[in-house]
């Protein structure tokens, strides 16, 4: 040892492993405009496609005339449903077990539905061609309100389902009914309500919104007729799933399909499913023999590809007079639009909505969900949340506040009284989940202390008195939210997509000089995988994160994985990384034992290499082991140092958090100001605190947008009235509140590194915090529930209906 020998702290720091605020390596290219996105893919002879879309929400298509379009210079082909029928692709399967028109087949079912696909030498010619296609429509009665979907005289939307009394998820009870899903014990729950001292009941709606990533959905398809191979560059959150779906529906051999997800500019659930644009571009490439690019514009993105929510949740809680909950009963009316194109694990028609018991110890609960069709865009994707979890969290968090109001209790106190206690974990919920770990009381109390919750309540009481005396026109609201997420889909025992278990994978290959590459089944859309995955490997095998390259998105080179959404990457793929790294480490230990001439049991791991127990100077670094793996392995051992792991998680993970929003609302204009927002997240082991903070900031900003105005709204004629960023609320830095973040750490007991996932928590917990703040602000005036979104005019409307506008 001399002065130049690094200390143990220096050796650990040099790895930039787990817990390090490592700067994002991908940002070097993103911040310099050097990312490589789908629209950057330019191939020789590439053609461009664009859609003719329906102006009607519901109409019969009597004829499509393409003659004039084909005369436009540069237009090469116009594809219609008739063209697609020749290759049996006029309809495609959805992830939810339904079928969906690729191009209008006889009728259209929502405004901006794809009717014909014009292929031309450039995008301008394609759009000129679109304007020349003449479609003769016969308008039909329009169904927009899901509460009218199952009326006896409701118009028949899906004529293709005529006579089908059973769907993918059981019996259908009406021509516009998709499924009924029931969980829990009805009898016990009804009994709890019958003897309840106190009950509440409220219809809580979560409006229709949209993930709206900065980069829209797009692809380039290139079919090589000689080789019979199809290459697709696309904005895919799950590239392997896309490859399998293409193989199944286009009847191409899977090894001849190459799916590449290059850099992706945000997904938020919008880029999980398969869209008509992908099918049409692929068919157009097969027909023309040239590469074909399809790029969605913003209006198309907001109005045609996958919306989120549109859940209408009638919620009842039974409780004792002193505030102990005794039962939960929820019925959901779920509007899926024209086709059930939900992106949930296949057996879960309402996702994991049965997490709706939240963070509370409900002895009994019963849930039913009815899915219905309407003349609106298809979808129901998980917009920055695990499947239908943000709906569930909003439902229970809003309902707990309503109960607190009825009991005259403080909302935080009511929650503390009903939390699942630390010693109850692993906890079996009344609706069937096994919560892995949690310490809710500690998190809640930390939130209350950090924000001086008691002082805020005191200030609110004073402001309310001042308001009643006419001294102020502002009302103050405190929005408490305590959420439990369920992420990491998922264990093969209960999760699959089209029959494929929802494992994930990692392949690590170490190079002789102590560097390596990790290939993954996940696909970052901005989450920072290139940074964080390398940190896990660094801590596991003692190679600096900078020496590990992370590669995702190419189905030819990456191991099969189910992709990135639902905060599943860290819970599932993060575990696969640790397991693959541990296989590397096990082989490395054998090599080190051979080189150090001891038995492998005599070695101990020490930060970045193996040391002989009791002989500290006998040490072999992982870097040196890598070299040895390629030239002097023990006799009988194969050379090389690589491993692959496919990880089937034993359980979901259950991140949680305690949020508080402090808001002031001017009752005369409805203008609100978010004075303060505090977010405490517990995502188990923290891999990169800086990236977690960034994720929380992003998720809270989306939650703020959704709660306070972001909406896809239809008029009675089925016309989308929020089809651009002028009217679809996309907050800028000016509108976005300042965020305060905090944390506790309760590791997952079943995850190899104890991590739970965090990307979606802030959206799940944030929406109820904002909405509860608005509702809390008005509650002293006599209101119990005001529906989202809480934009200015709706706040004013609430104030007006409460009679405070004079």
């Amino acid at each position: 040892m001399n002065d130049l020998t690094p200390t143990r702290e220096q050796r650990t720091a040099a790895l930039e492993g787990m817990g390090c605020k490592r700067k994002r390596v991908e940002d070097i290219r993103f911040t310099q405009g050097k990312g490589n996105y789908v629209d950057d893919v330019k191939l020789p002879g590439m053609l461009h496609g664009d859609f003719v879309r329906s102006p009607h929400a519901h109409a019969r298509v009597k004829s499509i005339n393409t003659d004039e379009a084909l005369k436009v210079p540069g237009v090469l082909a116009v594809i219609t449903a008739e063209t697609l029928k020749t290759v049996n692709l006029a309809w495609m399967p959805t992830l939810a077990g339904d079928v969906q028109m690729v191009l209008a087949d006889g009728k259209v079912l929502f405004q901006n539905q794809e009717v014909a696909f014009v292929v031309a030498t450039d995008r301008y010619a394609a759009d000129d061609g679109v304007s020349k296609v003449v479609v003769d429509y016969e308008a039909l009665p329009v169904l927009v309100d899901p509460f009218k979907s199952m009326a006896p005289d409701a118009p028949v939307l899906r004529e293709d389902l005529a006579g089908k009394t059973t769907g993918a998820h059981g019996p259908r009870k009406h021509h516009n009914h998709i499924f009924e899903w029931s969980v829990g014990d009805k009898e016990l729950t009804d009994a709890a309500f019958n003897k309840a001292e106190v009950t509440i009941k409220e219809m809580i709606s979560y409006h229709r919104t949209h993930p709206s990533p900065l980069e829209t959905c797009q692809c380039v398809c290139s079919f090589d007729k000689i080789k019979g191979e199809l290459t697709i560059w696309g904005t895919f959150q799950a590239p392997h799933v896309i490859r399998t779906v293409v193989a199944l529906i286009a009847k191409l051999p899977e090894q001849k399909i190459h799916v590449i997800s290059p850099d992706i500019g945000g997904g938020f659930g919008n880029k999980v499913g398969a869209y008509p644009g992908y099918i049409c571009a692929a068919v157009a490439s097969i027909v023309t023999g040239k590469p074909v690019k399809w790029v969605e514009d913003r209006i198309e993105n907001l109005t045609a590809t996958s919306f989120a929510r549109d859940y209408h949740m009638t919620t009842e809680i039974a409780a004792t007079k002193d505030g102990k909950v005794t039962g939960l009963r929820v019925h959901v009316l779920a509007d899926h639009g024209a086709f059930d194109a939900c992106a949930d694990p296949s057996k879960w028609p309402a996702g994991f909505f049965n997490i709706v018991t939240g963070s509370y110890d409900f002895p009994v609960a019963h849930l039913t969900v009815d899915g219905v069709y309407s003349n609106k865009a298809p979808g129901g994707v998980a917009y920055r949340c695990s499947f239908r979890v943000t709906e569930a969290a909003y439902c229970i968090e809003r309902a707990m506040d309503i109960l607190a109001q009825k009991l005259g209790m403080d909302p935080a106190e009511l929650r503390l009284k009903n939390f699942i206690r630390r010693e109850q974990f692993p906890y079996h919920s009344a609706l069937g989940w096994e919560y892995d770990s949690g310490d809710y009381h500690t998190a809640m109390r930390k939130m209350m202390e950090s924000t001086d919750y008691a002082a805020l309540r005191k200030e609110q009481a004073e402001k309310r008195e001042a308001f009643k005396r006419g001294e102020t026109r502002e009302v103050m609201g405190l929005g408490v939210s305590f959420f439990t997420e369920i992420v990491g889909a998922g264990p093969s025992k209960n999760c699959d997509i089209l029959g494929i278990a929802m494992f994930d994978s990692c392949e690590i290959r170490m190079h002789p000089t102590g560097a390596g590459i990790a290939r993954m089944g996940t696909k970052s859309q901005g989450q920072g995988h290139e940074t964080t995955w390398a940190q896990i490997i660094a801590s596991e095998i003692g190679i600096p994160a900078d020496n590990i390259m992370v590669e995702e998105g190419n189905t030819d080179t990456a191991p099969y994985g189910l992709g990135t959404y639902g905060s599943r990457s860290t819970p599932v793929a993060g575990a696969a990384i640790a397991m693959a790294a541990r296989k590397i480490k096990a082989k490395a230990q054998m090599i080190a034992a051979y080189k150090l001439e001891v038995h492998e049991d005599d070695l101990e791991w020490d930060i970045d290499g193996f040391r002989v127990k009791g002989l500290p100077e006998k040490f072999m670094s992982m870097k040196d082991i890598c070299w040895a793996a390629y030239n002097s392995v023990p006799p009988g051992m194969e050379p090389g140092l690589e491993a692959v792991s496919y990880y089937d998680p034993p359980n979901m993970t259950y991140p949680f958090g305690a949020y508080l929003c402090v808001m002031d609302i001017d009752v005369d204009t409805g203008v609100y100001k978010v004075r303060r927002f505090y977010a405490l997240d517990d995502c188990g082991t923290r891999i990169n605190p800086m990236i977690i903070e960034g994720q929380v900031h992003g998720g809270l900003t989306e939650a703020f947008a959704i709660a306070m105005g972001q909406e896809i709204r239809y008029d009675d004629g089925g016309n989308v009235v929020t089809g651009s960023f002028m009217d679809f609320f996309m907050p800028t830095a000016v509108e976005t509140p300042r965020w305060e973040t905090d944390f506790t750490v309760t590791p997952s007991p079943h995850h190899p590194i104890g991590a739970k996932g965090v990307g979606e928590s802030p959206n799940v917990g944030g929406v109820p915090a904002f909405s509860n703040a608005v509702n809390d602000a008005f509650s002293f005036l006599g209101s119990t529930h005001i529906q989202m979104p809480h934009d200015y005019w709706r706040n004013w409307k609430a104030a007006k209906s409460l009679g405070v506008l004079g």
Partner: protein
């Protein structure tokens, strides 16, 4: 989001621009900042056969003081208004309003001429021009003429501009020394048009309002001059009753459209509040 085909022309003088517009006929549209026209073209809601780009005409830019009037060339951008010392000292309300138009990127391109000539009820500058008593210079094949802003707006996107005419400059009389001013704009977010907005220019004498003009943005298919509302506060100390009267008089002439910003009743209600707040702030500023 792809426009149809169009011809592009970039004349170097107003005379050439007028000749081009005359020879190309109804198919041609002059192009200033393009922040209204180009999005309409991308949506194919506007399909002009020719664009006559005014950016090549040096004479259409600039801010000049001419005695007790300020002349602003039509192609002067919102950013240039914000950067001008002359505007800051003479017409500060223009800077207060310009800073509330869209975002910096739009303000680098958007022009005052385009803003006032397009007849879009959502634009902010027209109501200010009414409030300030501005006049517009219109040049066309039959010569130049001056039209008062108060006579210019006829309906949404309908103005006194004749086919072939270009709005070349805006002339604004200097408000009285020591005047108070305010532009109150309620909008949902940066970049949005007003849910409701009110411009006020007033003078105070002995604690009472001596003169007052009030303009309203996006509360009718044209910008409005709220004369009765202004009269309701002249001679008063802006006491609560007078303010209430003024707001009610302003609301009486509003007829906004119901849209995603809110129903008619809300937009009128907050329109009245914008008037009240603008009056109070302007009075506070008056010397």
């Amino acid at each position: 989001m792809i426009p149809g085909p169009f011809g592009y022309h970039r004349p170097a003088s107003v005379g050439d621009a007028i000749k081009l517009l005359a020879s190309l006929g109804e198919e041609a549209r002059p192009l200033a900042g393009g922040h209204s026209l180009i999005p309409m073209m991308k949506l194919r809601l506007a399909t002009p056969g020719h664009l006559v780009d005014l950016h090549g005409i040096a004479g259409l830019k600039g801010i000049h003081r001419d005695g007790n009037r300020i002349a602003i060339g039509a192609m002067t951008t919102q950013h240039e208004l914000l950067a001008s010392d002359e505007i800051r000292s003479s017409l500060p309300i223009l800077q207060e309003a310009a800073a509330l138009i869209a975002d910096p990127q739009v303000r680098y391109r958007g022009t005052i001429g385009g803003n006032v000539a397009n007849g879009d009820p959502g634009n902010d500058m027209p109501a200010l021009m009414l409030t300030l008593g501005a006049a517009y210079r219109l040049e066309g094949p039959s010569g130049a003429r001056e039209v008062m802003a108060s006579d210019f707006y006829q309906g949404a996107y309908f103005t006194a501009l004749e086919p072939g005419e270009i709005l070349t400059s805006v002339t604004i009389p200097l408000p009285a020394a020591g005047h108070g001013y305010a532009y109150e704009k309620l909008k949902r977010k940066v970049g949005d048009y007003a849910t409701a907005a009110a411009a006020v220019v007033l003078t105070m004498a002995g604690g009472k309002v001596a003169s007052c003009a009030i303009g309203l943005t996006n509360l009718h298919e044209t910008p409005l001059l709220a004369v009765d509302a202004a009269n309701a506060v002249i001679g008063t100390s802006l006491d609560a009753a007078s303010l209430k009267k003024a707001a009610a008089a302003a609301e009486a002439i509003m007829s906004p459209a119901a849209d995603a910003r809110g129903p008619v009743e809300y937009r009128k209600h907050v329109g009245g509040i914008m008037v009240t707040r603008a009056l109070q702030r302007a009075a506070h500023r008056a010397k």
